[in-house]
């Protein structure tokens, strides 16, 4: 029997397939479709110190093999998340990762302190949301990332993962996060992109820029995982256009320890479940004991 398990820092997952933050709510919606305990982990919707109502509609725009979103971190706030959503999430039977976002590094510390006492296995620091208005988000920033991780590190003993943007100082931010105590890096969030509604001649989104996800970004995300793998020591968690088990294998071969599925859930609510089954078959048919055999194999010369 091959083992699908993966080790992310101090955390062991039953398989490398996770639901990505913001695409799986707090897990309750997809529970109607399948037994969520089949997944390696689920990342909760990103929460903030106070509730946020998010961006005005429209928030979605389909593109060729992609999806633009401008949700703007609509969420009930950390307190409601911990009190009302987390207890329900705990019943899903898998690892729960909390995702947090703040305006200042100190916000991450405050959020991490609140999560520290809660029953979650890890915290993902979202320093890569392109959709929060008025912040002039410019992609990954090494200095800011280091401050955020330090602030959170001081507030909790839980494993910290850092979710990076796929543009800006990506490598420097990855190294800074690792240096400041991140146990894993998630690469990456959505790409900043836009659309124009030709019937009005105006940008579709009130914020102009939105985040591009889906199969359209898969080769771009793959490139980042491949480039970071030889340069960082902590495990890499891939995110970006992963919708099939073949995609997942590709990212593992590039060096990823695990994968997150976002837009794929919208394409098919059973996307992650089918992926887990496909990966299991893949290991069996190839007669592979575990993922270590192929992880990063694309780098071998």
């Amino acid at each position: 029997m091959p083992s699908l398990e993966v080790q992310i820092g101090s955390l062991r997952l039953k398989n490398p397939v996770m639901a990505a933050a913001g695409t799986f709510g707090f897990g309750q919606e997809y529970r109607e479709f399948f037994d969520i305990s089949a997944l390696g982990a689920i990342c909760a919707k990103t929460v903030t110190l106070r509730a946020r109502t998010g961006n005005p509609p429209p928030r979605l725009w389909e593109t060729p093999c992609g999806l633009l979103n401008s949700i703007g971190l609509e969420n009930p706030g950390i307190e409601t998340f911990l009190k009302e959503e987390l207890p329900k999430m705990r019943k899903l039977g898998t690892v729960i990762v909390a995702s947090i976002w703040g305006e200042e590094p100190g916000d991450y510390g405050a959020l991490a302190a609140a999560v520290d006492k809660a029953d979650v296995e890890a915290i993902e620091l979202n320093v890569s949301c392109p959709n929060v208005p008025g912040k002039g988000f410019v992609g990954a920033q090494a200095g800011f990332t280091a401050d955020v991780v330090r602030s959170a590190r001081a507030a909790t003993t839980k494993p910290l993962w850092v979710k990076l943007a796929p543009e800006g100082e990506v490598l420097a931010a990855a190294l800074a996060a690792q240096e400041a105590g991140a146990q894993a890096l998630c690469i990456a969030n959505t790409f900043r992109a836009m659309a124009i509604d030709i019937s009005t001649g105006r940008p579709v989104f009130a914020n102009v820029l939105a985040g591009l996800s889906g199969p359209a970004i898969k080769p771009l995300a793959l490139r980042w995982v491949y480039e970071l793998f030889p340069r960082v020591e902590v495990p890499l968690i891939a995110s970006g256009g992963i919708t099939t088990w073949q995609d997942a294998v590709e990212f593992i071969m590039a060096g990823a320890r695990a994968v997150q599925v976002g837009t794929g859930n919208f394409v098919d609510p059973l996307c992650t479940l089918t992926m887990v089954e496909g990966l299991k078959k893949f290991l069996e048919e190839r007669n592979l004991e575990c993922w270590e055999v192929i992880r990063g194999c694309a780098h071998r010369r």
Partner: protein, 247 residues
């Protein structure tokens, strides 16, 4: 326990019933409340997302949708042949609940799609008001279900009174009204129903990705904060969603 299934169903019928409007019947055993919808896809990866479609009709053997060809997705649906497979999941969303007493169903154009199954389930006493831009279509199926069917054509059509559906309609005497159609129609109905103090329930459309409440992409602002059209709706009390619409 999981309750929603993602299924593949064969096409039993896909027929153009009016210019650019198709009736798609899928074989299988389904359930749905009036006003609920399904997410449909009949293609692999492109377009990326499934398309939301209201339940038009339901029988023990089949589920029917009525759709207008708008863009790539609905054009692909229009090409489906007998026996082709459609992937779908549902029923989704909160439909409408019947209020006791005489009710009115009002549909503008494609907005009539969710009204047939509603009329069948709700039953008499019930009147139907349908508005079209040009020549009316799909009117006959409502005749045996409603006490009165009022039809209007904006530009006029043979055998059909010219005018707006709102000119044929008055909320007075109804216990509640249920409407689906273009936003200006819904707003006008809201104004009329507010004045007459008759509750109005509207079915809204927003762009959707997940269709199940997970992505927060279909949010509308309501009197009680942001709500998801796909899972808190698509049916809302008009006063909840058009709270800032009246002067």
């Amino acid at each position: 326990m999981p309750e929603l299934k993602v299924v593949r169903a064969p096409v039993a019928e896909n027929r153009e019933v009016a210019p650019g409007v198709f009736l798609l019947r899928l074989e299988g055993r389904f359930v749905a409340e009036p006003g609920q919808f399904f997410m449909l896809r009949a293609w692999e990866r492109d377009p990326l997302l499934a398309r939301p479609m209201s339940v038009f009709d339901l029988s023990p053997q089949a589920l029917a949708f009525l759709y207008a060809v708008r863009g790539r997705g609905t054009a692909l649906l229009a090409n489906l042949r007998l026996g082709d497979q459609v992937k779908l999941w549902g029923p989704l969303g909160q439909g409408w609940k019947r209020v006791p007493g005489r009710i009115a169903l009002v549909g503008g154009g494609m907005g009539l799609a969710p009204l047939l199954w509603t009329a069948k389930q709700f039953g008499s006493p019930l009147d139907v008001y349908l508005g079209f831009r040009h020549r009316p279509w799909m009117v006959e199926v409502f005749r045996s279900l409603a006490d009165h069917v009022h039809v209007r054509s904006e530009v006029g059509a043979p055998g059909c009174t010219q005018g707006l559906v709102t000119e044929a309609f008055s909320p007075r005497g109804y216990a509640a009204c249920y409407a689906c159609g273009p936003k200006p129609l819904l707003l006008e109905l809201h104004r009329m129903c507010q004045e007459a103090e008759v509750p109005l329930y509207v079915s809204l459309e927003e762009r959707m990705a997940c269709g199940v409440g997970a992505c927060l992409g279909c949010t509308v602002w309501t009197r009680s904060g942001p709500k998801r059209v796909c899972s808190d709706g698509p049916v809302f009390p008009a006063a909840e969603v058009f709270f800032d619409a009246l002067p």
